[in-house]
């Protein structure tokens, strides 16, 4: 076939840009919402084509390999489903007057820009370009978090902006250091920033330099991942922004940032003299996990609750990759995918709930399964899935991570298990009130769009019971890449 990798990549990057431009000009939110869906859908289809692209010829700027293709597909897919959800969500916001048509236009344009930025970060073979992509995505999300223009929204956006910028700065410094390390080996110019080249040459780099570099990168991108104690922006940004953005933040942006960390972990792992990245990531992961687990108990805002649960899961994933080894890496990758799907699905449900009940306060939302059975049970399923209970995919990944960890490092398994248990307790502590008991608040029928939720949870369910062999083979290959 005449199809080459680059076309797919180009499409994945260009479609959002064009769409953004168009959307910025289009009035009328119905049309633009449709268009938004269409563009995201097209991007998703284009990304599917990347499976068939040949991975052998990495370009200087863009490339596709087994690691990022999955992320791109996942990214574009969740982007698509979220756009569907957002279509049914945003209309309601307009009715309640929280948003004006002008803002909606801006919103849709920014949505595409953000998707484009993340795709850029994922497809980049150039660490500088990757950095640019992530910065782009971050800044757009900052704008969207503040879109409601309420005090709280601005506060959240501002906090996000400051911490994010510092993170960006640190990450850039790390990137520069990596270039410096590469410089004596691969010589001047673009090559010093091409990831494939870096990995190939990494063994000759100066260890001390990339050690420092990795610390800066870990902290810089780790701020985006939301690892404690760098997490501060995350809960508020999730809670105050529009729910579709919360879904995308939790589902995608965190993954993209973690993806960046992984790229550099590979470089570091290729260098014998360098410090092992594992311990750092394991420590950060465990801290985030346990910390978030405790924080979950005292949440009163439903969206902030699930934001903290994202921190918790990012902790688990980071821990898994820190542990390394085929089984743990496999678990980490699986957990990443499962978490994006589940968490965004939960945010879909939560978004509708908050709209119907007219509040985000957990205390004011009671007995959902009575007033809104479908929505309520969707939420229950989501929480069950995210808490790591079978038959959902998160259970499988946690099973792999915990069991492999305990066999190797029994002492590390203790805090891991404790954190998981605590988090589960907190989630169900809240769910008890949310979904069951005598209902409060309005029982107005909801015009929710269930399709995205059902698709997400359906996929998670299937993955929990049966992973297609292709996927498995490919996951395992990536797990080996990660070492």
């Amino acid at each position: 076939m005449t199809f080459s990798a680059d076309d797919g990549v180009i499409l994945v990057l260009v479609i959002p840009v064009i769409a953004a431009a168009v959307l910025a000009l289009l009035p009328g939110y119905r049309l633009s919402a449709r268009l938004n869906m269409l563009a995201s859908g097209l991007t998703f289809v284009a990304s599917l084509s990347l499976f068939f692209a040949d991975h052998s010829r990495p370009g200087h700027y863009l490339f596709i390999d087994d690691l990022n293709v999955a992320f791109i597909v996942l990214n574009t897919f969740v982007g698509f489903t979220t756009s569907v959800f957002s279509a049914s969500y945003i209309g309601h916001e307009l009715e309640t007057g929280r948003l004006t048509p002008a803002y909606l236009r801006f919103y849709h344009a920014m949505y595409q820009v953000m998707m484009g930025g993340m795709n850029l970060a994922l497809t980049a073979n150039n660490i500088g370009l990757m950095w640019v992509g992530i910065e782009l995505a971050t800044l757009t999300t900052v704008l969207m978090v503040g879109i409601y223009r309420t005090h709280e929204a601005l506060e959240a956006a501002w906090k996000y902006f400051i911490l994010g910028s510092v993170g960006i700065g640190l990450a850039l410094f790390g990137t520069i250091l990596v270039y410096m390390a590469a410089h004596p080996v691969v010589g001047e110019g673009i090559n010093g920033m091409v990831w494939t080249v870096l990995v190939a040459q990494a063994s000759h780099f100066d260890p001390a330099l990339i050690n420092v570099a990795f610390i800066f990168l870990l902290l810089g991108y780790g701020t985006k991942v939301g690892l404690a104690p760098l997490h501060a922006w995350l809960p508020d940004a999730h809670a105050e922004g529009p729910t579709p953005i919360s879904a995308v933040l939790s589902g995608l942006l965190l993954n993209v940032a973690l993806y960046a960390v992984l790229r550099f972990k590979i470089v570091l792992a290729a260098n014998p003299g360098a410090v092992a990245p594992g311990p750092l990531m394991v420590t950060l992961g465990l801290v985030s996990l346990v910390f978030a687990a405790f924080m979950l108990y005292r949440r009163r805002d439903i969206k902030r609750l699930f934001a903290y649960s994202s921190i918790e899961h990012m902790g688990i994933i980071t821990f898994a990759f820190g542990m390394g080894g085929p089984v743990a890496n496999f678990g980490g990758l699986l957990h990443m995918a499962m978490h994006s799907l589940t968490k965004s699905g939960i945010f879909f449900a939560v978004g509708h709930v908050a709209q119907i009940k007219g509040t985000q306060k957990v205390a004011d939302i009671r007995g959902l399964t009575v007033t809104h059975p479908r929505l309520g049970w969707c939420l229950v399923i989501g929480v069950v899935a995210i808490a790591g209970l079978p038959p959902f995919g998160v259970f499988m990944s946690e099973f792999l991570v915990v069991s492999s960890t305990f066999a190797r490092e029994p002492l590390l398994a203790a805090p891991l298990v404790l954190g998981i248990l605590l988090a589960l307790g907190a989630l169900f502590y809240h769910l008890n009130g949310l979904a069951f008991g005598d209902p409060t608040g309005s029982d107005a029928p909801s015009d929710a769009s269930y399709a995205p939720m059902i698709v997400h949870f359906g996929l998670v369910l299937i993955a929990g019971i049966f992973l297609p062999p292709v996927l498995v083979a490919w996951f395992r290959h990536v797990a080996e890449i990660l070492g």
Partner: protein
């Protein structure tokens, strides 16, 4: 197709029924359809598993391309699995039959129907699973389904709390099992049980596995001190589900324990047996004492489950100890006793919960202090419930006695044990067992006497009515099984022989050969018991007495007001209540313990109101184990929560500090 394939089909069909139920739950006919389907499926599965057992339980395996990638889902049926599958599905069939009638009284059937078949499927799959992943998956799925059933009546805050505690404890157990399996599989992930059996491990690892499994399976089975969730959760569910949870799910936990400890964990030291003995004896006595203190029938039954689990674990502990010392025959005896008690308890506990459910539907009351005299209004239920009470109180000729008798016989093998600690501990455990048995008798005299005998203590009790035939037939079925298992236990003992041969290395002498269906634990000891003959003797002599008296002496009878030492008919309030019945034993065993507190509230002199007596029953485990943990979480979360309210500058300083500290680490090391 092999047996396991057919059994898998049954489990899959149950899942299908669950989905169907989710679809049609709100329709009128749903109850009949769903419970009918589960009934049929459970009977089929029972037949299959009994067949598998009868064929000597040669393991048959099945690998499906689902579950954990690159391993697949392994399922297998060996003798042990077949036995427990029989237990599960007999209980399931009875519960379905009962549900056909009982389910009609459910206000929100859509909160029960979908999860009931799922729960059954989960339990079946746990027993069928043959690799670590499918095993844990089914295990947690089972917990999840039962959780949904526990909070089926979710409007009651107590039930929500019960469900919460239950889920936490269940997940803790799952994580413990997960760790144990992680230890067994090793880092490179040999997850299927066959590989685990082959793998070698250090004694330390085996011991750790034992402890972890004891936490994991023990919390589900309700061993003291991990039992606290059980008396909350089991009664909260609808009665036929309570029956399943108490009668069957706890047995699945026993299965998990046997599978992981006897089968996979490899050889264990003798002290593991001692550990089990201690925990089992403790559970038995504390469980039954707490049961005796309860006035809520279902809660009383839940606590008595803890007692019976304790008895089973005493049997298992003996088996471990004997096996560790190479006394295979004795180990086989102890294990047989434990397995028999598993079966028996599943019978009579389900029966009793059905009875409690019948009372609940007839009167809407669970508190026996507002019941009484039901024997006149619900004769059949009360008769069947009485049978259950006799069985669980270990009275011959019913089945409860047989398993306890065998356990005693196993205890009597202790003198040959080499270790002194065991020599001393085993008879002590036997003493605890005897104590528990006697107290159980008292507890169930209380249950039956207060609930069914005497005079009604409330209008609901006075207006009670007999329940529907389907519920009654379910109870009758179980009562019949109790009798059969009581008078011809020999066949069951022969049926479990392959299991003991596999895990204890020996089996009891073939019982079916013995004259008059007698059972003997071992030939060298002359001990023997014959339920059938005892049954016949009692029946014969009772009939003889009745015949002789009515033939030769008077059979005139006159109804008159009660004599009661000449007090003219006092109000029903003068009857002994549940707590007053338990008072002497409370005084003897629990006086001045944290478990009970009695206080007399005297009015001030000249104050006209009556003095009041207040009694509070508490489960000390809450204060000693659970509350501190909860408090710790409370405090920690409160402290950490301050981090939610820092200023941006402070957050920045966090980033700054972590950067500097990491750089310092780098500067100092490397």
């Amino acid at each position: 197709m092999s047996v396991v394939a057919f059994l898998m089909l049954c489990a899959a069909a149950l899942l299908g029924v669950a989905l169907l139920a989710a679809a049609i739950a709100r329709t009128r006919a749903a109850t009949t359809i769903i419970y009918g389907a589960t009934l049929v499926l459970c009977i089929t599965a029972t037949a299959l598993s009994i067949a598998a057992l009868a064929l000597g339980g040669a393991p048959s395996r099945l690998v499906l391309p689902v579950g954990l990638p690159w391993i697949g889902a392994h399922f297998a049926v060996d003798a042990l699995a077949a036995f427990f599958l029989a237990v599960v599905n007999i209980g399931g069939a009875a519960a379905s039959l009962y549900g056909l009638g009982y389910g009609a009284h459910e206000e929100e059937p859509h909160r029960v129907l979908p999860f009931f078949p799922a729960f059954l499927a989960g339990m079946n799959l746990v027993v069928l699973a043959d690799d670590a992943f499918s095993y844990l998956l089914s295990w947690e799925f089972m917990s999840l389904a039962s959780w949904a059933l526990v909070i089926a009546h979710h409007r009651d805050a107590e039930n929500r709390r019960a469900g919460f505690v239950y889920l936490i404890m269940a997940s803790m157990g799952t994580l413990a099992l997960l760790l144990a399996l992680g230890l067994l599989t090793g880092p490179d992930g040999h997850y299927d049980f066959e590989a685990i059996r082959l793998g070698a491990r250090t004694p330390l690892a085996s011991a750790m596995v034992l402890v972890l499994v004891l936490i994991g399976a023990g919390s589900k089975a309700g061993l003291v001190p991990l039992h606290a969730w059980l008396p909350l959760a089991h009664p909260a569910a609808p009665s036929h589900v309570s029956a399943l949870m108490s009668g069957v799910m706890t047995k699945v936990a026993i299965y998990a324990f046997i599978r992981l400890v006897f089968d996979l964990a490899g050889p264990l030291p003798w002290w593991s047996g001692a550990l089990l003995l201690a925990i089992g004896g403790l559970s038995a006595v504390l469980g039954v004492l707490q049961a005796l203190m309860q006035d809520d029938t279902k809660r009383l039954l839940a606590y008595s489950t803890i007692e019976n689990i304790g008895i089973i674990f005493i049997g298992l502990g003996l088996a471990l100890a004997f096996r560790a010392d190479g006394m295979d025959a004795a180990a086989a005896l102890a294990m047989t006793a434990a397995l028999l008690h598993v079966l028996n308890h599943s019978f009579f506990k389900s029966l009793l919960f059905f009875g409690a459910g019948a009372v609940l539907t007839a009167t809407g009351e669970r508190n026996m202090d507002r019941l009484g005299g039901l024997i006149h209004r619900m004769p059949v239920s009360s008769f069947l419930f009485l049978a259950g009470c006799m069985a669980i109180s270990a009275l011959p000729p019913l089945n409860g006695f047989v398993s306890e008798w065998l356990t005693f016989q196993a205890v009597l093998q202790s003198p040959d044990l080499p270790q002194w600690a065991l020599k001393v501990m085993v008879p002590a455990a036997g003493g605890l067992l005897a104590l528990a048995a006697a107290l159980a008798g008292a507890a169930f005299v209380k249950t039956f006497g207060i609930t069914f005998l005497g005079r009604p203590r409330s209008d609901q009790a006075a207006a009670a009515h007999e329940v529907d035939r389907l519920s009654l037939s379910a109870m009758a079925l179980l009562a019949l099984l109790c009798l059969i298992a009581g008078i011809i236990p020999g066949f069951i003992m022969d049926a479990v022989a392959p299991i003991t041969r596999q895990f204890a290395g020996d089996a009891l002498p073939l019982q079916a050969k013995l004259p008059w269906l007698t059972i003997v634990p071992a030939f060298e000891s002359g001990s023997s018991y014959n339920g059938l003959l005892v049954f016949l003797f009692i029946g014969f002599s009772a009939l003889l007495a009745v015949w002789a008296i009515h033939r030769f002496a008077s059979h005139a009878i006159r109804r008159a007001p009660a004599w009661d030492c000449g007090f003219p008919d006092p109000s029903p309030a003068t009857q002994y209540s549940g707590s007053s019945f338990a008072q002497p034993i409370r005084r003897v065993f629990l006086a001045r313990t944290p478990a009970t507190r009695e206080e007399v509230l005297m009015p001030a002199p000249g104050d006209m109101q009556a003095a009041r007596f207040r009694l509070t029953i508490a489960d000390p485990v809450w204060d000693w184990l659970y509350e501190p943990f909860a408090a710790a979480v409370e405090i920690a979360s409160l402290q950490l929560n301050k981090l939610q309210f820092l200023t941006i500058r402070r957050y920045l300083s966090l980033v700054f500090l972590s950067l500097v500290s990491l750089l310092l680490v780098l500067a100092i090391w490397s």
